[in-house]
Symmetry: C2
Subunit: 330 residues, 2 copies
């Protein structure tokens, strides 16, 4: 496959197949085992993994196709951009600039569709895939950069929070490329824990932990051990990827562990679809959490914030005090 014709914008929709991998959209990226390939993003110029911009072929997304030696062009740049909660107003000015500077933007369809009009119109190519294609999407972004394009790969939240900054570096290395070769840079965004914390009030103002319940990439005994330690040590806990049809047991186990260490009336904040049209915010008690796993409130777009022993609910807000009261007479 030719890789030096980097300005070809022909759209090849022949690989436009969507695969449902058994979960709704996810707030932070995570790879899944099913295969998928390119989808067209409604209305905008869109290319697919069959185009000549990248070097990977569409049939084997879980294997790295091209290595750095397959590219003749001088590499372009690759920047991983965190969009925050997803809507344009949650994005930093620096993220917007990085997107306006990019020739190609690569991302998960849901977030590419939410990009500001100005960004969508200014870019040469938008490449988006439905969820579950994180590895192939990231490789596509890298191949496009190695082929000479300035590429932004986007995701919600922050690229360092269960997301693509690490994957991009891992794949670059596996291709025999380096981060410097594509001037790899990361533009941080507001993580889901902070977006959800803000909606709830002030649940996270002291020492805190983030734990993902997805055992796709971390085994369940490790996750359980971390939950025990976090709950025992008085950390507030942000739970990412709390539930999917394939792993109801992880959520149940998590609730049991938390209840071992914290009272049943510990405040728990649940934010579903933060900043989106279907956003739901609830503050419940720890003892009620497990049964909510079977409702629409808890899915892959939900982040759960578990208070510590000092967290209380006041005027519909969750507050974790830092101890000011003991130091100051106010």
């Amino acid at each position: 496959m030719s890789t030096d014709d980097t300005t070809d914008t022909t759209t090849d929709a022949s690989t436009d197949t969507e695969t449902n991998c058994g979960a709704a959209s996810t707030p932070d990226s995570e790879a899944a085992t099913t295969e998928d390939s390119a989808s067209k993003c409604g209305g905008s110029a869109s290319s697919s993994s069959g185009s000549s911009c990248g070097a990977s072929s569409s049939g084997d997304e879980e294997e790295v196709g091209a290595t750095v030696e397959d590219f003749d062009a001088d590499p372009g740049r690759l920047v991983a951009v965190g969009l925050g909660p997803g809507q344009p107003e949650g994005m930093t000015a620096r993220a917007r600039e990085a997107l306006l500077d990019a020739e190609h933007i690569v991302g998960y369809t849901t977030y590419v569709d939410l990009l500001p009009e100005e960004v969508r119109e200014g870019v040469d190519e938008l490449y988006d895939t439905p969820m579950c294609g994180e590895v192939s999407r990231t490789e596509e972004a890298i191949d496009r950069a190695l082929a000479g394009n300035d590429v932004a790969i986007v995701g919600s939240g922050d690229p360092n929070v269960y997301a693509l900054a690490g994957l991009a570096l891992e794949i670059l290395e596996s291709k025999g490329a380096t981060a410097s070769m594509v001037e790899f840079d990361v533009v941080p965004g507001v993580p889901a824990a902070q977006s959800c914390g803000a909606r709830l009030g002030a649940p996270l103002v002291n020492d805190t932990v983030s734990i993902s319940l997805s055992d796709h990439l971390t085994d369940m005994p490790t996750i359980e051990s971390r939950l025990h330690a976090a709950a025992k040590e008085g950390f507030t806990i942000s739970i990412y990827n709390p539930w999917s049809r394939k792993r109801r047991e992880n959520f149940e186990k998590c609730c049991e562990i938390l209840e071992e260490h914290r009272p049943a009336d510990t405040p728990v904040g649940i934010v579903h679809g933060a900043g989106r049209e279907d956003e739901q915010v609830e503050i419940v008690e720890l003892g009620e959490l497990e049964e909510l796993g079977e409702t629409d409130l808890v899915d892959m777009t939900t982040t759960i914030i578990v208070g510590n022993e000092e967290t209380y609910v006041w005027d519909d807000r969750m507050v974790t005090p830092r101890g000011y009261e003991s130091k100051y007479d106010y």
Copy 2:
């Protein structure tokens, strides 16, 4: 004191005294024990705690002066806005909007000085104090809101990360007010851990912990116990407030605990003054960390990111893999 004349912009500089509380500027707010009062922010309209906009008197910042009953006006709004790393380009569009909508902006001098020109010029009053005045500053913001003004209180990073969202709610409650009364809202920002993580590459892409080494509001045995647990359980660790002259021992103790559980060659990222002119970024080994406590690299503007057992350094970047490699052949 009259509190209903909320539009008085008289500047009272008589309380313009700066107190150095023994540390440089801090990336996330924290209260300190010394007293201070208002300073003028260079060139802009500035009021002080002696003005008639708020109800607190300037001599007793650590006690709540006015309660909700002292205010006759219909309350205005109070929004806690996270500025991210501090420079305007690190701010979200939503944060900028909140600042443009505010009549009064209250914050620590360093960050107020960094606000975009458009914001500084559009606001009726800027009230800033040097560091260590977090409690008095927050109370001032609340009093101004209770007196009928729309107020934004600003800080770097995110208002939920060792910062003022919780303090604002605690003080509102102590005044007999409620959050709803001032339509209290939080606008999230990019936390220091994410700003620093982005500069280092991808150090935080798996389960992670934030721990502050300041024992001003959390006692040292608790901090030590949390460090042990986090280091044992394979979390990456973001260390906030790592060092001040008053607590060298905390930093030394922290390094000892980390070395008990992790090899001396564990990668550690140090980011001093993220996003500022004096920014310094270094990736070192855990075994070198303790001695760096005595250099300019580590102070209150520094955030330290400690890798886990799997973190490695590649091409000057810190990478914490998520385990993709074991699942995918790339």
